[in-house]
Symmetry: C2
Subunit: 224 residues, 2 copies
DNA sequence: AAACATTTGTCCGTATGTATA
DNA sequence: ATATACATACGGACAAATGTT
């Protein structure tokens, strides 16, 4: 019986992993509000596990910056400063740009074509206004570039940053625009010319664009 | 009785923190060898605490990439690939360069002078051949620049990367050269001119220099 | 193939420490 | 200032899963 490749570890995930994923999702989508107190016993009951895996998950979320822990005092969801999007995008852009520069030297024409198809779907999602799906496809696009670098230091950091960006986008009601799809096409063109420096430039501005989106948005949503 | 300022939280650190710091130090300096199996019960005994704080520390070290955990099977010190220095320095250089660019716009002349004094001491340490101390001062120099960015996303990532770099330097017997002190002086000059782009360029090449040191070193230490 | 030995994962009780009355 | 209430930190025992004999 043929087993689908890349599906090697469907390991029934541990209680800790379940707790981690669920809690992270709740924090990102706002089910657990910023500043909300997190009582491990309570959460354990809600998740149907004991306090230990919950506490372990909370500690991981703590190092990732989603949970604030005051030893012996309290554990709570970190507050959100909407302006943090301005702080996190520059380092994320720098790493994504570096990844693009590295990927440009190794990407195959077949892989470029696959990304092109992905980007088509991304554009359609944007046109249809399906922003959550579009965001997912955008992450897939950049994730593929990260994969090509074969560099776990870049990959793990970017993945962590992305989670925060998702939360901040959600909080700030930022949605991607069609410009993003155009950027992606220009990135692919640079890849075909093996022009790593140019690819890096476009990737950087692609990410920094969201800073402008934030400011444009903030002007309308903020009280004067 | 006067209490030294900046010593606000001498909180007797928790068992978990002690375990974390001790284990990380042991891994970085090679006391715990790459690939070595980590039995939590055994470590708990050695550290005089129970398994819980040890397990928690191991999980933090896991997300930081110093410990590999195979659920239900084993936990061990991550293997070292000396060539990883080639993988980690580019993203670290990118972030440090970004930090320098941001810092250039805000640093005061007083702070520049303080860094200049620090760099003098750094140069002396290099001349005396006190490489561990020199490395510490080098980290302090760049750490001060990071502080100026007031950006926790950059700070926490860089700090994590630095720990790995320490381990890789140790493993590869890489030591900094006098060129580094010269770089620092040029960085400070760029700061004085408020030339962020130039400061970023120098910082990047300052870090990437160690890649060359690695290759120069590897040629001699490797068996043919 | 089945039972064993070892290690990890989980549970929950207790103690310690902090903030409040 | 003392005491009280609460949440967190830690401990030790049990259960589950894995690799081995």
């Amino acid at each position: 019986m043929p087993i689908p490749a890349g599906f090697s570890t469907p390991h029934r995930l541990s209680a800790k992993q379940r707790a981690f994923q669920q809690l992270q999702e709740w924090i990102i989508d706002g089910t657990l509000r910023p500043g909300e107190k997190l009582n491990d016993g309570e959460l354990a009951g809600a998740l149907g596990v004991s306090r230990t895996p919950v506490r372990e998950a909370l500690q991981l979320l703590n190092v990732e910056g989603f949970v604030e822990m005051n030893p012996g005092v309290s554990t709570q969801v970190t507050e959100i400063d909407g302006a943090d999007i301005v702080k996190i995008l520059p380092p994320l852009a720098a790493l994504q740009a570096l990844a693009a520069e590295i990927a440009a030297a190794r990407i195959s024409s077949g892989q470029i074509e696959a990304l092109r198809r992905l980007n088509l779907e991304f554009g359609e999602a944007l046109d249809k206004g399906d922003y959550p799906y579009a965001l997912k496809l955008d992450e897939e696009f950049h994730g593929a570039v990260i994969e090509l670098t074969d560099n776990s230091y870049i990959a793990s950091t970017v993945s962590m940053f992305q989670a925060h960006v998702r939360r901040l986008f959600f909080y700030n009601s930022i949605v991607l625009t069609r410009d993003s799809a155009d950027d992606h096409e220009r990135i692919l063109n640079a890849f075909e010319r093996r022009d790593g420096a140019e690819a890096a430039r476009i990737v950087r501005s692609n990410w920094l664009r969201s800073i402008d989106l934030y400011y444009a948005n903030a002007r309308h949503t903020q009280a004067p």
